[in-house]
Amino acid sequence: MVEHRPWSHLVAHLILIAGVALVLFPVYIAIVASTQGPGEFLRGTLPLVPGGHALENYRAMWESGLSRAGAPPAGQMLVNSLVMALAITVGKLSISLLSAFAIVYFRFPFRLFFFWVIFVTLMLPVEVRIIPTFQVVADLGMLNSFAGLSIPLIASATATFLFRQFFMTVPEELLEAARVDGAGPLKFFKDILLPLSVTNIAALFVIMFIYGWNQYLWPLLITTDPDYYTIVMGIQRMTTAADGDPQWHLVMAAVVMAALPPVLVILFMQRLFVKGLTETEK
């Protein structure tokens, strides 16, 4: 490091503390709001220190939800979110690993064609082709089902691309040594390639889990049955109602519950998360 003046160090810390405060501020407000009683919001401004109603608010949301807003209990929505996020994550990882393996370790007719079919999906996020995708899922009878929530989202060019890049860096000689050692393609995949990919799989798992958990538009479109509501989309239903009938303390309890699982994943797996993020985008 070149030159270190004490005052510049202090300024740097101040900037960072301000930045952290700015980043934390909305969540702090949400946590504070989620601990208030129902009357607090009628008085005009929001209190800035936690109130004493945390337990009852969270319990109310967890167990019964906001029935007036048509939202099921948060506990159930969290389970739905978890199922959807895991299904999307595991699905994406499995089909991407298999297809990347095929593309890197085999030569076969139309290889390039399939490669492009998969990679086109990079270019077409679900948001840009909402109606026709909805129609396909409706025609297949997959509305209001976990299959409908997850399968259309598991095709991932990103994961395939990352695994392809990683497989290309696996030394050629490992494959050759394995073949001299009598391993066929599936044995090589299982015994050598998968164990070597563990870190990459874990890193992608973090990214994909967050992606899956945070899905919003898709569950909004294909679920009309509250039994399949996910927490992220469920909150929107509550806020629409909360504007007229302020239940902010309950909505914010749900917000905290919805944000907690993916935030915990990042905090506990920061290293994998950073690896997954920076490598999927390169």
């Binding site: 490091m1 070149v2 030159e3 160090h9 810390h13 960072l16 930045g19 952290v20 980043v23 407000i29 949400a30 709001a33 919001f41 401004t45 499995s94 298999l98 095929a102 593309i103 890197v104 370790y105 085999f106 076969f108 390039l112 399939f114 079919v117 086109v120 077409l124 996020p125 948001e127 082709r129 909402i130 109606i131 026709p132 129609q135 396909v136 297949l140 399968i151 290309m168 050629e172 494959l175 393609p185 599936l186 967050i210 958990w213 945070n214 919003y216 992220v232 989309m233 909150i235 929107q236 806020t239 902010w248 917000v255 944000a259 993916p262 935030v263 990042i266 920061q270 993020l277 985008e281």
Partner: protein, 294 residues
């Protein structure tokens, strides 16, 4: 495109391995995209009984529609605002964190977690903070003499969604800027210091130019994010209002097609969006190629 020097023999195995991904892609990506393309050339009557082939008429109407043109400019402002706000905040924080030795990891942890928050949740959080009757920010603004109301003021609403969208994206930009900064050789900065450049000058003449590949990459990613991933922010907060002030393209496709049931127009909008995505992807690929090659 490359394979390994040596590959496995196998007639049907590679196809079996590719099948799950290809089938999902065909059913849920290629087919709907083709449908959008096809539907964009049709018009349905009000009862959905008759469809007629209308050629490019849907597109012609689209670009003559003042609401659509409004959505285009709203999207441009929103994307630009989100990108600038988020990237400048992230760059400031990344440069500052990069000076730290012991506290670097602690600050990084504290700054990256908003990546995990869904855009819709980010929207709800800021919607609450800016709530005109109970929110904390309007209360403070009122003391400064500004009456905030995003339910009636288009500018306020736009500011709100930009802040919410940018807030969530800071973490992402921060991590990439930090990685970019750490890849700049320390010796270059030391050389500049020996050449007598002040810290401020060092940043603008050495660090910032060397960071330009990262900056360019992030600009593309942020524009894509603001255009397509922020549906949740809009839908959970302003729903495009007040009076179309925050009606970005992605939200309009949804509103026109799913709520308004105007399939031909929605399909044409989808096609326009796909064109934009493809253009941005090409730019991004170009950039990746260039970066790999130098």
């Amino acid at each position: 495109m490359q394979t390994k020097r040596m590959t496995f023999p196998g007639r049907w195995l590679p196809y079996a391995l590719l099948a799950p991904q290809v089938i999902v892609t065909l059913i849920f990506f290629i087919w709907p995209a083709a449908q959008a393309l096809y539907q964009s050339l049709l018009r349905e009557d009000a009862f959905g009984l008759n469809t007629t082939f209308v050629g490019l008429e849907n597109f012609a109407r689209l670009f003559a529609d003042p609401y659509y043109l409004n959505a285009l400019s709203v999207t441009a402002i929103f994307a630009l605002g989100t990108t600038l706000l988020s990237m400048s905040m992230a760059l400031l924080l990344a440069v500052t964190v990069n000076r730290m030795l012991r506290s670097r990891n602690a600050y990084t942890t504290l700054l990256v977690w908003p990546y995990a928050i869904a855009p819709a949740i980010a929207g709800v959080l800021w919607w609450f903070i800016f709530n005109p009757s109970i929110g904390i920010v309007p209360y403070l603004l009122e003391m400064l003499g500004y009456r905030w109301n995003h339910r009636t003021s288009g500018a306020d609403a736009m500011a709100l969604v930009i802040i919410a969208a940018a807030w969530k994206q800071i973490a992402y930009n921060f991590l990439f800027f930090l990685a970019g900064l750490q890849s700049i050789p320390q010796s270059l900065i030391e050389a500049a210091a020996i050449d007598g450049a002040s810290p401020f000058k060092r940043f603008w003449t050495i660090v910032f130019p060397l960071l330009s590949p990262t900056t360019f990459f992030l600009m593309v990613v942020n524009v894509v994010y603001a255009m397509f991933d922020t549906f949740g922010v809009i839908h959970a907060t302003t729903q495009g209002g007040p009076s179309q002030a925050t009606n970005i393209l992605v939200y309009k496709v949804y509103a026109d097609g799913f709520v308004g049931m105007n399939l031909g127009s929605s399909a044409a909008q989808s096609v326009v969006l796909m064109t934009i995505v493809i253009a941005l992807t090409v730019v991004q690929f170009r950039y990746i190629e260039r970066r790999v090659n130098y």
